[in-house]
Amino acid sequence: MTSTENLLKTLPNDIGGLSAERVERVEHQLKPWEKRCHALADVLDFHKIINTEEKRRGVEALGSELISKLTYYERWIAAFANILFQKQILTPEDLAQKMDEVATRDGALSQRASET
């Protein structure tokens, strides 16, 4: 097998048995957006808009670099966006416009909060 064939045939999350460092018992309280993201995943699975296995595949499809650099819930929301585009439920333009709107709205709120 060539080395690139091996890469293609091995998912980035398929790590059982690889060498790794000591287990560090890290944990953190979920941020509110992370909890909303988890709730979103459960609701999407209930409706089979994006089932849990599609989410897993979507995270794998991000590829090793993104998987290693994004946090757990960042990977989920990026995967959701891609899957929704693929299913033609949203377009990249829809998401970009809405994200601008959200960012502007929140920027304005934070500004008002810091002024009071």
Partner: protein
């Protein structure tokens, strides 16, 4: 009340403006709500569902199994049905197999491919469970991993590592510690930690 105002109130109180991914999450959620594919009430409700799932539920199941042999039998035969007897409903289509630790066998659970975990009965998994060191090494050198948690299992006790890959989720039923005959079910449940139900530590007094 506008559906997202509650979340905005959280953000301005903390003084932090939302990061890129939080903005993405908000945008995706609002778009799906606008398109009527999901509704805001479902998200709020599912957050409440998630908040209601903590290791205390699993501890209650373990304590009941320790004091009631008939329940323990039903739990080992069908984990999900036995949890439902105690009012612990599942919110997904997963099954539950409960793995009993004995004088001959010690169980631990892992998901090498992602982060499968018995969430309906334990809540959300800790970060370490989802990170590479645990996932890669638990199936390769479980005794060394357990030692890092301070748990030494004698060689005459068989270790079974269960790797979740599909619909089944696992919960370890730890051994009841010695000298607990006088404790009632509530007191027993208070001894049972999340990590004992993952199988990386025993239950101790």
């Amino acid at each position: 009340m506008h559906p997202h105002e509650h979340e905005h109130a959280d953000q301005s109180q903390s003084g932090e403006s939302p990061g890129y991914y939080e903005i993405m999450e908000t945008a995706v959620r609002e778009l799906l709500i606008e398109r009527r594919l999901i509704d805001a009430g479902e998200i709020r409700r599912q957050i409440e569902v998630l908040d209601s799932r903590t290791p205390a539920l699993g501890a209650k199941v373990v304590a009941r199994a320790w004091v009631d042999p008939a329940f323990r039998g039903r739990l080992l035969a069908d984990g999900r049905a036995a949890c439902e007897e105690l009012g612990i409903s599942f919110y997904d289509d997963t099954r539950l197999i409960v793995l009993e630790n004995t004088d001959a066998v010690h169980n631990l659970i892992v998901c090498t491919l992602c982060s499968c975990y018995p969430r309906p009965v334990l809540g959300l998994p800790p970060d370490w469970y989802k990170l590479k060191p645990y996932r890669a090494r638990a199936v390769r050198e479980p005794r060394a991993v357990l030692a890092e948690f301070g748990t030494v299992i004698p060689d005459n006790i068989e270790i079974r590592v269960s790797d979740s890959t599909a619909q089944v989720r696992y919960l370890v039923l730890p051994k009841r510690p010695e000298d607990t005959e006088a404790l009632d079910e509530t007191q027993l449940a208070a001894l049972v930690t999340r990590d004992a139900m993952i199988g990386v530590v025993p239950v101790t007094l």
